[in-house]
């Protein structure tokens, strides 16, 4: 399709890739063992992916079309896919297979790309800028590389005009606006919009069921050598605990004037020279 041939009237087919992650803000450190308390920590849709989904739903509201949600992970991810549908996504797809366990960003991008092929044509693939649990930001650009389409990463604003997408990237020294033809992969900045809450009608759609499709590795005809741990070029060779500086932890509970005086005295003693 070329510009000016009526593309503006056509609805958009948007695929949003999401991951389910532990809720970072609910994580805390055990004061005794100094390790992360992970048991019982609730999950959420990776926060930047929520912003990507919100971006997709707004584009659909403007332009019409459909929003498909795609994820790869264990069946517990259904919780997030249901939430995405309740927020307004049309359908969701979960690639779930033991053989996919241990995937690094190479097979993850590869597997998601194969699923996108299976979904057929698309206008936009939207991803969060990165996940809060792995923080690589590599999967979105990896998908673009696999699909051989343009990419615009770290966008705080995404606009579709006709058959082109315009994304404003927040980079270190400013805001840079890139524009390219559809189809494209766009990654969305964390916090660039306020993700909507699930709606009542959305929840009813979830209840009725039938909107989540499960795919196995075999359903996608994935090469066993290209998936999961085996298809991952990198390994985590070991994990070391960070040795944090030992803090004195001196707490002042006096009334403000006294507490502040004591604090300033203590800082001065430590060599923190104050006015």
């Amino acid at each position: 399709m070329t510009a000016g041939d009526g593309g503006a009237k056509r609805g958009l087919r948007i695929i949003v890739c999401i991951k389910q992650v532990p809720k970072a803000q609910e994580l805390s450190v055990d004061p005794v063992t100094k390790t992360l308390k992970r048991v019982g920590v609730p999950s959420e849709i990776n926060p930047p992916d929520q912003n990507a989904l919100e971006t997709a739903l707004r584009l659909k509201a403007e332009r019409g079309g459909e929003v498909l949600v795609l994820s790869m992970g264990p069946t517990s991810f259904d919780e997030s896919l249901e939430r995405a549908i309740a927020m307004g996504a049309d359908r969701a797809y979960l690639i779930s297979d033991r053989a996919l366990g241990g995937s690094d960003t190479v097979p993850t991008a590869n597997t998601l790309s194969e699923a996108i092929h299976k979904l057929g044509s698309f206008d936009l693939v939207l991803c969060g800028e990165e996940t809060t649990d792995s923080s690589t930001g590599h999967v979105g650009p990896g998908i673009a590389g696999h699909l051989d389409v343009p990419q615009i990463t770290y966008c705080s604003d995404v606009v579709v005009v006709g058959d082109r997408v315009r994304g404003t990237r927040m980079i270190e020294d400013g805001a840079e606006t890139w524009e390219c033809a559809l189809p494209a992969v766009v990654t969305v900045d964390f916090g660039c919009n306020r993700p909507r809450e699930p709606s009542l009608t959305g929840k009813i759609r979830v209840k009725r069921g039938g909107l989540i499709t499960r795919w196995s590795a075999a359903d996608l005809n994935l090469d066993p050598a290209k998936i999961g741990l085996r298809g991952s070029p990198t390994i985590v060779a070991k994990v070391e605990t960070v040795q944090l500086p030992d803090r004195q932890g001196k707490i002042f509970r006096e009334e403000p004037a006294v507490a502040v005086a004591l604090l300033l005295e203590a800082l001065k003693k430590d060599g923190v020279v104050l006015p």
């Binding site: 532990p22 970072a24 609910e26 994580l27 805390s28 390790t35 992360l36 930047p48 690094d104 960003t105 190479v106 991008a109 923080s135 590599h138 999967v139 650009p141 990896g142 673009a144 590389g145 696999h146 051989d148 343009p150 990419q151 615009i152 990463t153 770290y154 990237r169 980079i171 270190e172 020294d173 400013g174 890139w178 390219c180 916090g191 070029p233 990198t234 390994i235 985590v236 060779a237 070991k238 994990v239 605990t241 960070v242 004195q248 932890g249 707490i251 509970r253 403000p256 004037a257 507490a259 502040v260 604090l263 300033l264 203590a266 430590d270 060599g271 923190v272 020279v273 104050l274 006015p275």
Partner: protein, 354 residues
């Protein structure tokens, strides 16, 4: 699909490379920092250290990169490469990697560096470790790529044993910039990689520069006053501005005030924001979620002000005041002003060296 095939495994792969990022006529800070670290890795491996520098009118930048420690720079010059876009830069890196077969390729983890690495690793099918804060070489000769794991309480050592090159990005402002040696000599190699119109699939239509004083304030500040949910609303950040002024510092924030739109994302400290290492970090009304601690736990001295004595922030603080921040902070400002005039505000090296 893009061009198939990995540059392959490699007994023959050799040499350490860095992607040298030119940005608006200058080398990016992270590229300079990376050259210093890559020099160390190359020396340990007894390898040649090369840079790849795509751009336009970049002769002086190529020389500068050599003066910071490169042995060789592969220069690809084209007016259409003046501003970074993903596909042409990926094509250039992929072509040069296939041609010269480096063992290691490193990127600065700027937004563009991550954009490039992410696309490239999928196209050439090799591993890429993101945002490394330390590198080492294992006894077997693998690059030990060390990066913070979830929550910032541990470091993961990532290895890429079979595929070549081994690739990683280096977090910004972690590695010290190497000294510049103006008499250092190296080789500038001009490479031609054909860029077609189809490769120019993205147009950069606009750039709005962020004013300098907004960009690096919290990265470079020696003293940070950081506000959290306890501030309650946007206008209360004015109190922290006053506090920072009297201390000669800058204002930062935890995630909540950013989510709520009270302050811009650029000042956010934490897992989803920035990692800072000021000499003094004063956390005001911040509960201390792990995701926040990950961004500030390496500060020299940490002071916490919070009304909740059980707040997790006190666990990592050197000093804490349990009390209402709206009483404690004005009192701090008052007492600091009362003292001022005697000595200039300064924080000794001893406090910042931890």
């Amino acid at each position: 699909m893009t061009d198939p095939g990995s540059p392959g495994a490699g007994p023959h792969a050799s040499g350490v490379w860095v992607f040298v990022e030119a940005r608006r006529g200058a080398l990016r800070d992270v590229s300079i920092q990376l050259i210093g670290e890559a020099r160390r890795i190359a020396d340990r491996k007894g390898a040649v250290l090369s840079g790849v520098l795509p751009g336009w009118k970049i002769d002086s930048l190529a020389r500068e990169a050599i003066e910071y420690g490169l042995d060789r720079v592969y220069v690809v010059e084209d007016p259409r490469l003046e501003t970074y876009t993903s596909r042409p830069f990926t094509k250039i890196l992929a072509a040069l990697i296939r041609k010269h077969r480096p063992e290691i390729v490193l990127f600065g983890a700027s937004k563009n560096g991550r954009d490039l690495g992410g696309r490239l690793h999928a196209v050439i099918d090799t591993g890429l470790a993101a945002d490394c804060v330390r590198f080492d070489v294992t006894p077997e000769g693998y690059l030990d790529m060390i990066r913070p794991a979830f929550g910032g309480r541990s470091l993961a050592h990532i290895h890429c044993e079979k595929q070549r090159p081994q690739m990683a990005s280096a977090r910004q402002n972690v590695f010290r910039p190497p000294p510049r040696n103006l008499s250092r000599r190296g080789e500038v190699v001009r490479e031609a990689v054909e860029i077609t119109d189809a490769d120019l699939d993205v147009r950069v239509v606009r750039f709005v520069e962020t004013p300098k004083h907004d960009v690096s304030k919290i990265d470079d500040a020696k003293i940070l006053v950081s506000g959290g949910a306890g501030l309650g609303e946007a206008k209360n950040f004015a109190l922290l501005e006053d506090f920072a002024d009297v201390l000669g510092g800058a204002v930062a924030a935890s995630r909540k005030p950013v989510d709520a739109g009270w302050v811009p994302k650029a000042v956010q400290v934490g897992q989803t924001g920035k990692t800072v290492r000021p000499n003094l970090y004063v956390a005001v009304g911040i509960s201390g979620a792990v995701q926040h601690l990950a961004g500030m736990q390496e500060a020299g001295t940490i002071v916490a002000i919070n009304h909740d004595p059980k707040a997790a922030i006190f666990e990592v603080a050197d000093y804490g005041i349990v009390g209402d921040l709206f009483q404690v902070v004005p009192e701090m400002i008052r007492q600091l002003r009362a003292r001022s005039g005697k000595t200039a505000v300064a924080v000794s090296a001893a406090a910042g060296d931890r």
